[in-house]
Symmetry: C2
Subunit: 207 residues, 2 copies
């Protein structure tokens, strides 16, 4: 399905989901496309167009049912799939994700962390065992995972990413600031570029 | 200037800058809009349109001069402004940014970190002094900063963000996962939503 939908629409889905989650938590049961649009900085027609990519939900005149829309979008994103994921690199960013980030709510089960540092290998952080990078292949054979989160130094990023592609992962969540440019079209790379975000802020505050 | 340019174009500027940086480091001196477009996953006409927002640079037939284009875009983004910034919250994410992130290259000088934890206040991390949050106003009076990086727990995010707006910051780089929805149009909020990024990956790998 993802092939036919533009990246702009895809990137808005998590935002709708997050916003509907908030509404659910606040006990709101109905929302109009106009109100939804306003809260997201879109136009009502854009919201309806976005939803039409997935067949459209709910009755416009009445507004959308928050619970239904929330679960429709959850199912479109696939947050209930609980894809298996591992994380490679237990430095500050890796540790921050392991300790504080809710992978489960985003559709993933974090099953292991990997590092080369003997001081941390063998430990368990927030119920996640830290294994040696040399155990990756053996681990994958027993527990095939679909996504690798890369939080290791840039210098090792390409080598490890190519290793992951050979193993057969479907996705890489890339924090290494390296443009991986994986040639394999079966592997999706999602980059988190802190510098792009901060430079965007720089642009917007520069007179 | 930023008001007239669409967010999509603004968000592409750091990517151009990053890519031109790589070309410079590789010693490449000329690049065609077609080649630049290919590397960025755009069309040549989109690249030319993007650049036309800023008056357009270089001769199409010949290709762009990499050095010139790099410095034009640097000046558009404002990376040479070296806006003063502080960071609030020295947990894992805050520490990761202080120790490993190159604020200077993105247009900022990081001048201080703030936390409430007595165990860390008074220390110096990567040349950045860690001060007590109670010193924020006094510090601002002496060293007015333009940007606050929020890496503190979500529960304190709104209160601190409003405090920053009252002090007079121009921008907030928000890692707290809270939609701040600051009412002040003079303050730009740039959110880093890890969950949106991971849910986008989830969508793209879900059949």
């Amino acid at each position: 399905m993802s092939r036919r939908i533009s990246m702009a629409v895809i990137r808005r889905m998590p935002k709708y989901y997050r916003y509907l989650n908030d509404l659910k938590n606040e006990g709101v049961s109905k929302i109009s496309s106009r109100k939804l649009a306003e809260s997201m900085g879109l136009t009502a027609s854009q919201v309806r167009q976005d939803f039409n990519c997935f067949g459209g939900f709910g009755q416009q005149g009445y507004g959308y049912n928050v619970d239904t829309l929330h679960s429709e979008i959850a199912s479109i994103i696939g947050v209930n799939r609980k894809h298996k994921a591992i994380i490679i690199g237990v430095g500050n960013i890796g540790r921050a994700l392991i300790n504080n980030f809710d992978f489960y709510q985003c559709g993933f089960t974090m099953i292991a962390a990997f590092d080369t540092d003997k001081a941390i290998v063998g430990k368990v952080l927030n119920k996640i065992p830290v294994l040696d990078v040399s155990e990756l292949d053996a681990f994958y054979a027993e527990n095939p995972f679909e996504v690798a989160v890369l939080t290791l130094p840039k210098a090792y990023a390409r080598e490890i990413a190519e290793h992951m592609v050979r193993l057969g992962v479907k996705g890489i969540w890339n924090f290494t600031n390296l443009d991986l440019r994986i040639g394999d079209e079966n592997v999706t790379v999602e980059d988190v570029h802190f510098s792009d975000s901060l430079m965007t802020l720089c642009f917007r505050i520069t007179d």
